[in-house]
């Protein structure tokens, strides 16, 4: 059975929806499915800290068919890894659809636009625009952070390249890169009252879809979605709710105290504490499934984005148990 968005909660409502009639911008699988009203699944695939392409090939074999598109991170947490575009190109070759991530931390506007031309030429169609984690958190804390532009400006540039066939400089592009443009948003960061407005700003800048920070505090996420709907933003952008399985109590506690912008309610910590020895992973998966079940019912949520950091094996099980399989073909 193909999983369609519950009619009642569909982001599209009717064919007149701005999203459905806007025509295809990139022709990516992800874009087609979202515009056809499916509840989509994306998942994160971390590239290796080395030049071994088989790491990606193995993960691809493991994950093929369990999500509609796969995010390849761009030196996440500022740690050097095989580049996102390269990872994306490997996936394209294997018949999986990548969402490449591009941060503003390591490249200026010249390098970014150049890399995006290359990515498009390699058959990559989805792009997530991020500012990027600060270099202080990574393995080269002495590196110079570039931050020539921020994520909003990046969105604007990518949209300009696609829709106006122009570089940031205003120069014409002969063959423009056509991306389905994504942005991130963290409903749990401060100032909370500004967050929905910031989303509106990202949409105006060029975002076609949003992947949110990992959700553990469903109530706060709902409150944010309420604001999003009040502004009518769920009709202008596809929102994919970020979810993740927790591996251990230690990881839960670490994320609660050490990861900026992460909101882990005490109740989650308690559930992990209560889990019997050896069953922490199971409980972590259960929590993730509970979150998926809840966020699916929230009006305006068009899909989930599963971030099983260094635990990609969990993705098939999550997708299966959440009733998200089989994935549709566009």
């Amino acid at each position: 059975m193909i999983v369609k968005s519950d009619e009642k909660y569909s982001t599209l409502g009717s064919l007149e929806s701005e999203l459905a009639i806007s025509g295809l911008k990139s022709g990516s699988n992800l874009e087609k499915l979202l515009k056809a009203g499916y509840f989509v699944v994306t998942a994160e695939l971390g590239p290796p800290r080395g030049a071994d392409r088989t790491v990606i090939e193995k993960k691809a074999t493991l994950l093929k068919g369990y999500a509609d598109a796969f995010n390849i991170t761009d030196c996440q947490t500022a740690v050097v890894r095989l580049s996102s575009i390269t990872g994306g190109a490997i996936l394209v070759g294997l018949g999986l659809e990548p969402i490449i991530q591009m941060t503003c931390r390591d490249r200026n506007r010249i390098a970014i636009q150049s890399d995006l031309l290359g990515a498009a030429a390699l058959g990559i169609k989805n792009l997530l625009c991020l500012t990027g984690d600060h270099q202080k958190f990574g393995d080269h804390p002495g590196a110079k952070g570039v931050f020539d532009i921020d994520s909003l400006q990046l969105l604007q540039i990518v949209k300009g390249m696609r829709d106006e066939k122009k570089f940031q400089s205003g120069e014409e592009i002969e063959v423009e890169p056509r991306f389905f443009i994504g942005a991130a948003e963290n409903p749990f960061a401060d100032p909370f009252t500004y967050r929905a407005f910031r989303l509106a700003k990202k949409i105006r800048a060029g975002a076609d879809f949003i992947q949110t920070q990992i959700i553990f505090n469903v109530d706060k996420f709902s409150a944010w979605m309420e604001r999003v709907r009040a502004l009518g933003l769920h009709k202008k952008v596809f929102i994919l709710a970020g979810v993740a399985p927790i591996k251990s109590l230690l990881m839960a506690k670490y994320m609660k105290t050490h990861v900026p912008g992460m909101d882990i309610p005490d109740e989650i910590i308690k559930r992990m504490e209560k889990a019997k020895k050896g069953s922490a992973k199971t409980e972590g998966l259960n929590i993730c499934l509970d979150v998926i079940e809840k966020v699916r019912k929230i009006e305006g949520v068009s899909g989930v984005h599963i971030m099983a950091i260094e635990w990609e094996e969990a993705i098939p099980e999550i997708a299966k148990r959440a009733g998200l399989l089989p994935r549709p073909s566009p």
Binding site: C104, R105, R109, T131, G132, H134, K136, G145, F147, D148, I149, D150, S151, L152, Q153, Q156, I157, Q168, A184, E185, N186, F188, A189, D190, P191, Y194, F197, R198, A200, K201, R204, A205, Q213, P260, G261
Partner: protein, 243 residues
């Protein structure tokens, strides 16, 4: 003001180890305020150097001097004659002062005694914060008087990142998130809609490192100076004619 910090004494010792006659020269402006290079610090560094030389049983003559500003010719002029008496000068001025002395006295080794840090201000006794990076195109009118170029670790121009929590920056939790400050300020002033506008990419060519060292030319002053010369020339010519 320019905020600087004194170099570790070991490093200063290493810098002067080959000289027998040195003079420590302070600056009476910014670096006096931040307790790095004023008269007091000059005395302290000089005393430390003398003591260290004594312990190592080395002969070292250490002079002391402080001028009001090491970044202006008219104050530096007063050092004429004094500088030439020494093998090397340890400047406790900021990086500008050191370079001004080096340009003015090319035959004497001018050594930096401070690490110049930033343009900022004291916010409470003993605490100095960076406030401006001299980006060359001030946006403070749009940001409630708080500079995100300087005070946001990622230099964001379009609102806070996803790591701003409890008013603090994700990059260093002892630093306020400037976008939280901007938000509160604009909200209080009823100007939150300013934050809805998308700020386009900044033109960094007018900022630090944009096109090499930046310079400021005040045409009217340049002209005035030229005119002065012309008048002087005319007077001279007239005098000449009279002869």
């Amino acid at each position: 003001m320019i905020v600087a910090d004194i170099k570790p004494f070991k490093e200063i010792m290493r810098l002067v180890k080959n000289y027998r006659k040195i003079c420590v020269i302070g600056c009476g402006t910014c670096v006096t305020v931040c307790h790095a290079g004023g008269q007091k610090q000059v005395s302290e560094v000089a005393a430390q150097l003398r003591l260290a030389a004594k312990l190592e049983k080395k002969h070292l003559e250490v002079g002391e001097e402080t001028i009001l500003r090491q970044c202006e010719h008219e104050f530096i002029d007063s050092l004429e004659g004094l500088v030439q008496k020494y093998d090397a000068i340890v400047s406790l001025g900021c990086g500008i002062g050191v370079q001004m002395l080096a340009e003015r006295f090319p035959h004497t080794r001018i050594l930096p005694g401070l690490n110049t840090k930033f343009m900022g201000a004291p916010t409470e006794p003993g605490i100095f914060w960076e406030r401006c990076v001299g980006c060359g195109n001030c946006i403070l009118a749009e940001t409630g008087g708080f500079c995100p170029v300087t005070r946001c670790a990622k230099g964001l121009l379009n609102g806070p990142c996803g790591g701003s929590q409890n008013g603090l920056c994700e990059v260093s939790p002892d630093t306020p998130c400037v976008w939280q400050l901007i938000y509160e300020q604009l909200e209080a002033q009823g100007m939150l809609d300013t934050m809805e506008a998308i700020t386009p990419p900044k033109d960094w060519s007018v900022g630090q490192g944009g096109c090499g060292p930046r310079r400021l030319v005040l045409e009217h002053l340049v002209e005035e100076e030229k005119d002065k010369h012309k008048i002087a020339e005319k007077v001279l010519t007239r005098n000449d004619c009279k002869k």
